[in-house]
């Protein structure tokens, strides 16, 4: 069984019936196209995605994604809140990459402010972002395996996800949507014992990743369902603006962490997994390998974690530490100003791109000199990657459709914002 089908109907395909029902059977096959709706409520769509699909028998001839079912007007809400209070709102865009959303926003604000981030804060940000990347890829793996039938992967992998969420809870206080990244650094330093727990986690993650690979990598069913299916040539993907693991699976080694390093990524030694065919199996393999590389980055960052402040020094932008409020009048005044009105950002426009688990998260921020953003827009990778989906599933079976949708890794929160 393979996904390649000939789309040309040759003369040999014309069948001549010699039965009384001939006039019915003689109908033009084009008229047998059936348009049905996948979703928005569907167990296999990863979120509320509606796919208007035109089928001929079991073969998909065309599909049209319809989105907007979880549009929350986050960008408009951000215009109403000052820069500090907009961070929790922007985190909820792509809800499986909340640190990335927050970093794109904070990075954009810091670029406008021309604020320098201390090294320790950068390393802490990198550690949390890489943990988030592992988290996101794990959830992708679990739900994809669930879609493809390997249901027990869900429970196996959730062990690791719960460990990561425990790590987040230990350092930031919350499992999801942590509001940990602040403009100027991070909200708080990591507690004692966190680095050790993190190392234990990465060690365990590598072992467990080996176990997951043992279940899935050479699994006959997995290979048959993913190999040679859903491949789109790399130049078509570039035309469609696709980035992230989808592009890397097609063979284009584009990763912003290596191409345009930000936030001290140049200090770490890691590889970018790149696929060859661009089919579903390569997408799976690229993401699994990325989990491994992220574990490496986390270990290196923990080894080289510098001492120092965890947030920038500029009291006009960053809240003073709590203990100073009891002794220093200026600290009290700064705190008051920052919490009520917020800091003002010089007017200008900036576009801050970072590499998230699904591709390029680009935050466009326009400031008009006041304490609230005048326009905040996230160029979300899932939104753009979804445009490649019809190309991926044309002329495949419905089962391949489900598998390809799983491998696409759409997150509707980011698509709809």
């Amino acid at each position: 069984m393979s996904g390649t089908l000939s789309t040309q109907r040759t003369a040999a395909d014309e069948v001549v019936f010699e039965t009384p029902g001939q006039q019915i059977n003689d109908r033009d096959p084009e008229q047998e196209l059936l348009t049905i709706n996948f979703g928005p409520h569907h167990p296999a769509t990863h979120g509320v995605l509606r796919l208007l699909t035109t089928l001929e028998g079991e073969i998909i001839r065309d599909t049209k994604p319809i989105i907007g079912y979880v549009h929350t007007g986050i960008e408009k809400t951000m215009e109403d809140k000052n820069y500090w209070k907009a961070i929790p709102v922007v985190e909820r865009m792509d809800y499986l990459a909340y640190f990335f959303n927050a970093y794109a926003f904070c990075g954009a604000v810091e670029t406008l402010l021309e604020l320098e981030i201390p090294k320790r804060a950068q390393y802490l940000r990198v550690i949390h972002m890489e943990l988030m990347r592992i988290n996101s890829h794990l959830l992708w793996l679990l739900t994809s395996a669930l879609d493809l039938g390997a249901i027990s992967m869900f429970w196996y992998g959730y062990r690791e996800r719960d460990s990561i969420l425990d790590l987040f809870e230990m350092s930031t206080g919350a499992r999801m949507h942590t509001r940990y990244f602040q403009v100027g650094g991070v909200a708080e330093d990591i507690p004692v014992g966190w680095a050790e727990n993190c190392r234990k986690f990465t060690k365990g993650m590598r072992d467990r990743l080996g176990q997951y690979r043992a279940i899935l990598d050479k699994n006959e069913i997995f290979i048959q369902r993913l190999r040679h299916i859903g491949a789109v040539p790399a130049d078509r993907l570039l035309e469609l603006g696709v980035t992230g693991p989808l592009l890397r699976a097609a063979g284009v080694p584009w990763d912003l962490r290596k191409a345009a390093p930000y936030c001290s990524y140049e200090d770490f030694d890691f590889k970018i997994p790149v696929g060859t065919d661009g089919d579903n199996y390569d997408r799976y393999a690229v993401r699994i390998a990325e989990i491994d590389q992220s574990c490496d980055i986390i270990d290196q960052a923990l080894d080289g974690l510098p001492e120092g402040p965890y947030v920038a020094d500029d009291r006009k932008v960053v809240l003073p530490p709590r203990h100073e409020l009891a002794t220093s009048m200026e600290a009290l005044i700064h705190h008051f100003k920052l919490v009520t009105e917020g800091f003002r950002v010089p007017p200008g426009e900036v576009y801050f791109p970072i590499e998230g688990p699904r591709g390029e998260y680009g935050m466009f921020l326009r400031s008009d000199g006041s304490s609230k953003p005048a326009r905040a827009h996230m160029r979300d990778p899932s939104f753009v990657n979804l445009q490649a989906f019809p190309d991926m599933v044309r002329d495949t079976y419905i089962a391949d459709f489900i598998a390809t949708l799983a491998m696409l890794d759409p997150i509707l929160g980011g698509i709809d914002r």
């Binding site: 907007g68 406008l112 469609l240 160029r379």
Partner: protein, 169 residues
């Protein structure tokens, strides 16, 4: 990012072809921005593609209220070989919000232009299917314009409980 001189050379090249295409250039925080005439957007982007900026990363809209012309559309271009970015922006007034669509040459702009239309009301001429993408099809208004109210509901507490959940009224 092309530095300031690179930006000026780029803008000069564009001006050589069409004198009034480039309205302004700006080099802010290390990023290069070219502001152009709205009607020239297709050939400017093609020109930049020929110069190496082959990827259109983002098309998004901005509302510059109260400055006129109000609605802006930004195109983020990326040169993968040199790792360079340049932003092309244009501004249209609300009473004539037509902009030529770049979707035929840049397929990635399909959904993104629909979003700009949905949220700001910029009409992209030549777009294969310009309809609302995030809001319901029959929604009236363009939500992300600055004069559109944020909206919202009063929170239901016990005192307004009885009035609040009765959706039949």
């Amino acid at each position: 990012m092309p530095d300031a001189t690179g930006l000026e050379l780029l803008a000069q090249e564009l001006r050589d072809t069409d004198a009034d295409a480039v309205v302004a250039t700006e080099h802010f925080r290390g990023a290069a921005v070219i502001e152009i005439e709205p009607s020239k957007v297709t050939w400017v982007l093609q020109r930049l593609k020929a110069k190496g900026f082959t990827m259109l990363m983002s098309v998004h809209g901005v509302d510059y209220y109260p400055e006129e012309p109000r609605l802006g559309v930004h195109y983020e271009l990326l040169d993968m070989k040199e790792v360079d970015r340049v932003r092309v922006k244009l501004r249209v007034p609300t009473d004539a919000p037509q902009v030529p669509s770049v979707t035929p040459e840049w397929p990635t702009a399909d959904h993104q232009e629909r979003e700009v239309f949905d949220m700001f009301g910029v009409v992209f001429e030549g777009h294969p299917e310009l309809r609302r993408i995030l809001m319901p099809e029959d929604y009236e208004g363009h939500p992300q314009r600055r004069d559109f109210p944020v909206g919202g509901e009063p929170i239901l507490f016990t005192y307004n409980d009885a009035r609040g959940t009765d959706y039949t009224q």
